[in-house]
Structure formats: C-alpha cells, structure tokens
C-alpha cells in the first residue's frame, strides 16, 4: 500500500536525484519516494491517455501498465504522440510502449492488450491507482466500486472535442499533508534588527500539516438527485459541464463509441435527442444545456487532452504522494472559454 514508503529502496540514487531535481525541489523528497513506490494502471491510450502516461512516467512512478485493446488506426496516429506512424494495425498499448518507456527508463512500463471489462477483479488489486479513459459509464462505475473497496485510488477522465473532465475517488479517508510556512513570533531580544517587531512568516521554515479528505463513489456522483430543494438551490452555481458529461456518457453507451466527425449530421441529431432525454430524466430544466456544445464535442482535441491530462496527471501524483489537497471530486474544462472548474457532486 502506498502508506509505506517502498522499503526495498529507500535511498534515491544520484541519477534519480539529478533527473528529478526540479520536481524534488517542488514537492519534496518524501513525495518523490512515494511516487517511486507506486504502481499505476492506465486504461485507454487515446489522446488523453497518452498525456496521462507521459505525465506519470516523467513523474517517476514505479510502474505504469498501459491497458488498451484497440488497434492503431490512421486517426490514432494523429491523435497521440507515443504511437509511431508505422504502427497501424498494431495494438495501441503495445505501439505506445517504446516511446513511453523512453520517456523515463527508470519507470517500468508494461503494455497489456486485453479489454478492461475482461479483466478479473484481482487484476486491479496490484495497483495503487487506476486511471480509466475511454470507458463506458457502467464499466467505470463497476471498477470504481471494486477499487475503492480495496483502497485503490480511482481516476476517470475523457476528452470530447473542446471539452474534458476528470473525476477522482480517493476513498473515504484519504490522508495527505500540506506544507505551510511557519509563523515566527516577534521576539525583540535575539532579533535581527527593526523588522523583528513584526510577526513574520519565516521563509526558511515550513511545517507539514496533516489533513484528511473524503470521497464518494462515481455511482453516487453521477446519481445526484436534482429534485431536492437543496439541489435546486445550488443549480445556479452548478457547472453545466456535469450534464454535458451525462449526455456524452449516454451517447457512448448507446453507440459504443464517441461522436465521430465523419458521422457529424447523424451524431449531432442523436446528441440533441440525448440531451433532451437526459435533462428530462434528471428532472432539470431543458434550458440548462443548449445546443452550442454539440458541434464542439467531436474527436479528442490535442490541446484539450494536454490540459485535462495535465490536471489529471497531477492529481494522480498528489494522491500517490499524499501531498497537497486533492481536487474534489470533478474537474471540468471548457476549451472554448478557457474555464476550468473543480466541483463536488455526490452526497454530503
């Protein structure tokens, strides 16, 4: 478990110290060691998956398993940067392996060609964190439930055109530390001149404060009851991206794929229909989410993958290193507006 720093190798080598210097100076040696002892599963090597893979490999986790049953198509060559252009027809995880490994030889990168849904429950237990991209809603809910039972951190994320989201479930009791500056009381005596009279933040001393955060399951997060008075009252401050996510997850379940630019007219129509249905089912106003988003949610946009993958990657790092407050529990990015919000959905 990640509560214990990897006992086998507590000493950071000189090579690691040199390579990780700039990040050790940010999050500290302890955090780096915890990363070093962590194993992560990443499902889905599309645009977002590749970004997350890059970020975690560079961060220096112990091992990263790339799980993807899909084959490399011409489009996937354009969508992500780990797959060589010559790899068409190959398995996507396998094709991403070499470039992925080269990002950081100190991380053990594996490729697994199976379907996520075919993996037995105990497959997931070997990991400290599981990150799911491109998965159906039901699959994500099932794996989230399984993993959180075993204290495995769960992350989900997807990119749809200009939009993207990240969800995390770090368990009911996720403990972490925050580094706070120490306050120095004015002493007057053993002081260093006129400034000593003021209470100062001592820039040279910091202290680690222990904290705890609690997370709900994905199922709970997606099944919020919007008919309650409280939910209705909070609607004004609720990001509509949440409802957009419902629409896109429904599309994915219904069609077994995401909106396809080559099928733009039909898919747009379907999205419009699903939007109506979803808003009605959730018993929220039909005006909440208009048609605007529809033509902007096709395909995985590279810069959006970079933004979402960056935030998601950093959340995984934070959770594994148990340092700094996690975003709780959704992050939504709107690439057209440049808006990125964090909000909590679930029971209180």
């Amino acid at each position: 478990m990640i509560d214990m720093i990897e006992k086998e190798d507590p000493v950071i080598s000189e090579e690691e110290a040199a390579q990780y210097d700039r990040q050790i100076r940010l999050w500290g040696l302890d955090a780096q060691k915890r990363l070093r002892g962590s194993r992560v599963l990443l499902a889905g090597l599309g645009g977002l998956g590749a970004e997350v893979a890059k970020n975690l490999i560079l961060a220096g986790v112990k091992g990263l398993t790339l799980l993807d049953h899909e084959q490399v198509t011409e489009e996937s060559c354009r969508a992500q940067f780990l797959v060589p252009v010559t790899a068409q027809g190959q398995n996507r995880a396998q094709a991403s392996l070499e470039r992925g490994q080269n990002l950081n030889p100190m991380v053990k990168v594996h490729a697994d060609q199976d379907r996520v849904e075919d993996k037995p429950d105990d497959f997931f237990l070997q990991f400290d964190a599981v990150c799911l991209t491109g998965c159906s809603r039901d699959l994500m809910v099932r794996i989230d439930q399984l993993c959180s039972k075993h204290n495995i951190k769960v992350f989900c994320g997807d990119v749809y055109g200009y939009y993207g989201y990240m969800f995390c479930n770090l368990g009911k009791e996720h403990s972490y530390v925050e580094e706070k500056p120490k306050m120095v009381k004015p002493t007057g005596n053993s002081s260093d001149g006129p400034e000593a009279k003021k209470a100062k933040i001592d820039p040279n001393e910091t202290t680690m404060v222990k904290k705890m955060a609690s997370f709900c399951t994905l199922k709970e997060a997606l099944e919020v009851d919007w008919t309650t008075e409280k939910a209705k009252a909070g609607m004004k401050r609720t990001p509509v991206d949440y409802f957009m996510l419902h629409v896109l997850l429904t599309f994915r379940t219904d069609k077994g794929r995401d909106p396809d630019p080559l099928a733009f007219p039909e898919d747009s129509r379907l999205l419009r229909k699903i939007r109506e249905d979803v808003l009605e089912t959730l018993a929220v106003s039909a005006d909440l989410l208009n048609d605007d988003f529809i033509s902007y949610c096709f395909s995985e946009m590279s810069p959006v993958c970079a933004v979402v993958g960056g935030v998601l990657g950093q959340e995984v790092v934070k959770a594994l290193s148990q340092r700094d407050a996690p975003h709780r529990n959704f992050f939504f990015f709107d690439g057209r507006k440049g808006n990125g919000v964090v909000d909590y959905f679930g029971p209180n």
Partner: protein, 656 residues
Amino acid sequence: MVQLVGSLRKELSDTLSTCKVLVVGAGGIGCELLKNLVLTGFKNIDVIDLDTIDVSNLNRQFLFQKKHVGKSKAQVAKESALQFCPTVNITAYHDSIMNPEYNVEFFRKFMLVMNALDNRAARNHVNRMCLAADIPLIESGSAGYLGQVTVIKKGLTECYECQPKPTQKTFPGCTIRNTPSEPIHCIVWAKYLFNQLFGEEDADQEVSPDTADPEAAWNPEDTATHATASDKDGDIKRVSTKEWARSTGYDPAKLFNKLFKDDIMYLLTMDKLWKTRKAPTPLDWQQLENSARPQEVSAGLGLKDQQVLGVWGLCQLFQLSVETLRSQLQEKGEGAELVWDKDDPPALDFVTAAANLRMHIFSMNMKSPFDVKSMAGNIIPAIATTNAVIAGLIVLEGLKVLSGELESCRTIFLNKCPNLRKKLLIPCVLDPPRASCYVCASQPEVTVKLNVHKTTVLSLQDRILKERFGMVAPDVQIEDGKGTILISSEEGETETNNSKILADFGIRNGSRLQVDDFLQDYALLVNVLHTEELERDVEFEVVGEAPDKAPPPQSTQEEVKNITNGNKDSAQPSTSFKAPEDAEDDDIMIVDSGEEEEEEEGASSSTAVTTSASKRKHSDAETGETSTKRPRTDQSSAAAATNDDDNDDDDIIALD
C-alpha cells in the same frame, strides 16, 4: 452545414495547414507546445532556442532523452516531433531570438508567434518585434504549480510592457556587508565574494565591512582601535580583494581568517549596529581545527545534499573549493576570470561554505547544499503537468487568433487550488493598450531621474537603455538643436564617449534624448530629470513608477504573474547580480479578479479590467477559503522565491 476535420471547423483546419507559426523557446513549455501544435494540425512551425539539453531538463522536457544531453534543444525537439508526425515542416534554429538576423521582416513571415521563454529581456524584445511587425503574440509563463497565458495584439490589447513590472530589487549594500539577517543575504555575499576573488570584480559587489553605513554612524577617526581591520576604508579601495588574495597565494586559512575573523571583529567595533541586533561571533581557523570532531553522519534518508554541514565540515569545504578554484584560475592563465555557475561543483561548494560560515557567524540556521543551490542558482522548480496545461491553453488561444476571434481571447491563469468560484483556470478579459505605455504608445516617451554629473554614457546605454528599457542596440541623439550623437549602435563609433558623464555633453535638467533601436523598430523619447538626491545604491529612477525597492501595489493575478517572471531580470529574488527581495515580498496573492463575473453577466468588456487592490477578498491559494489576510502559497520558499540562473534554460515564463 458545419464541416469538421477532427475537432475543428474545416476553415480553421485549412488555415492551420498553410499558416506559418514561430515558437520561441524549446524548453518545458516549448516541448509541450510543439507537440500540441503538431497534433492539432499546424503544418509549418519554426522553433528557436539558444540552449542545449541538460539532465535536469529531463523530468519535463519530454522530447529529450538522456542520450541528447549537450545537444541543441531546438534541433532535438524538431527531430523528436518528426517522429510522431513526419509530414510537418519544422525549421529549428539553435540561436538567440535577439540576434539581429531575426528582424521585422523575419517576424512578418509568421501568422502567429508564441513565446516559451524564461527571461524578461527576450520577452521584451519579442514583444517589440511583434509590435513592429504587427503579428499577434501569445505570451506565457509557469513556475511550480502556477502559470498563465495571454494574447498580445498591437492596438487591441496591452503589450507585454504596458504594465510596469517590478524590476530587480537589491538589498542595501550595508545589509549584505554589515548586517545580514537572512540566509539569502549571506548567499548573495558569498556570490559577491566569489566574483571578487575569482571572477570579474564589480564595484557594486563589495564584501568587506561598509564603514559608510549610515546606521553605524561610526566616527572614522577612531581607526586606532581597529588595527586588524580590513584594508578598505568605506568605499575607497586601496587594495582589491583579488590582489590581496593573490598576494597570499589564495591561502584558504588566511582568506578564512580575514573574512570570518578579522572583518567580523571590525564589524563588532561598529557598536551602534549591535545595539538591537545580535552581534556576530568571529571564527578562528586554528581554534576550529583543534576542536574539530568527526561529523555526525545521519541515517541517509534524505539526499546527501540535503544535510546541513557542521562548522568544521564547512571549513574543509571552504578550503577544498578555494584550492580547486585557485587551480582553475591558474590553468586559465594570466588575467583569467571565472564565471560563477551553479552546475560547477567547486563554485557551488565555495558559495555553500562561505555563505553557511557567515550564517553561523550571524547566528542563523544554516542551509544545506541543496537549498543553497536553489537560492544561489535561482532555481525555479518545474514539472511536466503545469507546462502541459499552459501549452494546451496557448494552442487554444492560438486557434481563436487564427479564426479571427480576437475578442474571445483571454488571459488565463492556472492556480494551484480553485478560487471562491471553484475555478482552477481563470480566464480574464484582455486589457486595451495603455495610452502612456513607453513601448506601444504612438509616441513613446519616458522621464528618467538621474544625476548628470555622475551617470556615464556607458551606464546610460547598458543600465538604463538596455537593461531597464530592453533595447538591444540603441542609437541616442541629443535634442540640442545640433543633433549630437551620443551613442551609436555601430561598434566603435562612439566608444570614446562611454566613460564621459552626461553633463559633458551639455545634458542637464530637462534635456531630451531621442533613442532608437533600429532592430526593434522602436523610438523612445527620454526626458532627463536631473537630481542629486537619489537613494543610496540607486543610479536612476523612472518617473511615474514606484521606486525600484518596492514593487507597485498589486492585486489580482499580477502577483501570480510576478512569480512566474523568470530569470535574473525579474522581480523575483535573484542572486545573480542584484540581491533578491526580502522574504515578505514573496507574497503570492491569488485574488478573485471578478472579471469572470463581468464576462458572464454580459457586462461591457470594453473598459479595462480593474486591477485595483481595494476591498477584494483574497482567496487562500491552497484552500480556496476567503481571508482578509494576505495568504501565501505553500510552495517552498526556494520554489516561490527564485529565478533561474543564466545557464539553465528552465521554463519560467513570465507573463507580467
């Protein structure tokens, strides 16, 4: 009917296939940016970077691998990008963007320029080139977990230099030389010492006790009791430090006793200084050697470099580094000078030892080599994810620019924690150009306060026009009815003027200088305000801005911008040539800007975004809670406080 090519409208996709864009910098943000541009469908990209790859880059500059260390960043970035997209046209330049070869005509080839820089001088320069060529520029910056992106378009938005940026702050000489109270003072002192002993001697980098310290109010006639005092008398040098050191053969013990015993004893005689401060305690080499005990080796859970050394260990480190540096000097030959480099072990060891010994003398908690390297080397911690986010935002803004949707462009801030409105990424409406901007106004003009009897022509050129006003090759004409040429950018033409003072040319209060930088297509009128009353250590002041020592009162995200300023010429504490700020000024205030509200409610966005401090609530960067106090981020002080060294191409990209 909407036609899509991938995620994009067809017209936009077509534009991307044909347009040419320039990426300035191939470091942390640059690598991520190049990747995003290629995958988004940009087909013609020029990338320029003067630096080579270092092992410390590899935690985030993912286009580089260990085998590439030492090679050109621009070149390797290009090669790596071609691996995942062989059909894109990338031209790589291993060069400085400030090279006159990259003139306005060069810039005009591009539809869009994107900065991925780590220093203000280059940013200023590219800002001017883009104004001159009228090409949209996307600026960005990052440091640690924070970052920002903005768009600059001539006539429409503020340029990079519209808002005065706090310039490099200095510590008063007497703090460095007489009364250090923070480890950073000692580190600055140690770097000055390095230069005095081994490098280029600088009159502003004196290390000996400052007898002219106004606080000491010491009567120079009492010299009799200070027989073992240093050779220097106030600011008048009799024997240079280097000469003296040479005369002792760079004997470590002799150097040690002068710096850490004799000079300290001299300081002690300036008793007024120690009335309210804890007095320093001198060290003696022999005594320390006699009482030396083997250094305790703690269980190595931390990095070796993160252990603070004991005093005798520091003495030994001092000795060893002095001897090594002495050999380096000898090898280089007559008149040789070393340049301080954080990646040169003996140079860093020397500063670690000297700074820590001084900290010990002044009763401060000492610093590990790891921390000294951060502070002395102005290292800004950096990670891949922050840069990935910023680079993603750059491309998204770029797409808006290329779609002709400039009004939807925004400045976007990346925070560490969500603000009160739950925003982690905060878009803000762009400000229109500042009418009085001394760069982008139609007739730029500025007033400078200086002493015409003390300021030399060279100083005007280097300190004021180049450093302060960001010119690369200024031409200066005096508006005296005769068109007297004071400075010519042509080498050698006005060299004889350099050591003369401005008054020698009839320049006095009210004089006007016409300054031109041909490369930047930039003309600036400088009004001279003569004064005899400048603060100590201050050579000039730009009128209309707060004095250099304190940054102008700031609010909103400007504080964030300041920490991502990058390198030696920013507001951030730096030890490269001027002293860093006091710790308190490191406050990074993430304030609710309120702009989003204007946006969402459809309020008129033609008025400039207000940046007044007033009664805004300040959100704590970490918890998102409101507090009326000025909170600080929890980034380690080393992280928040430092900029990158000249040698390291880290990606701190300052937006403001």
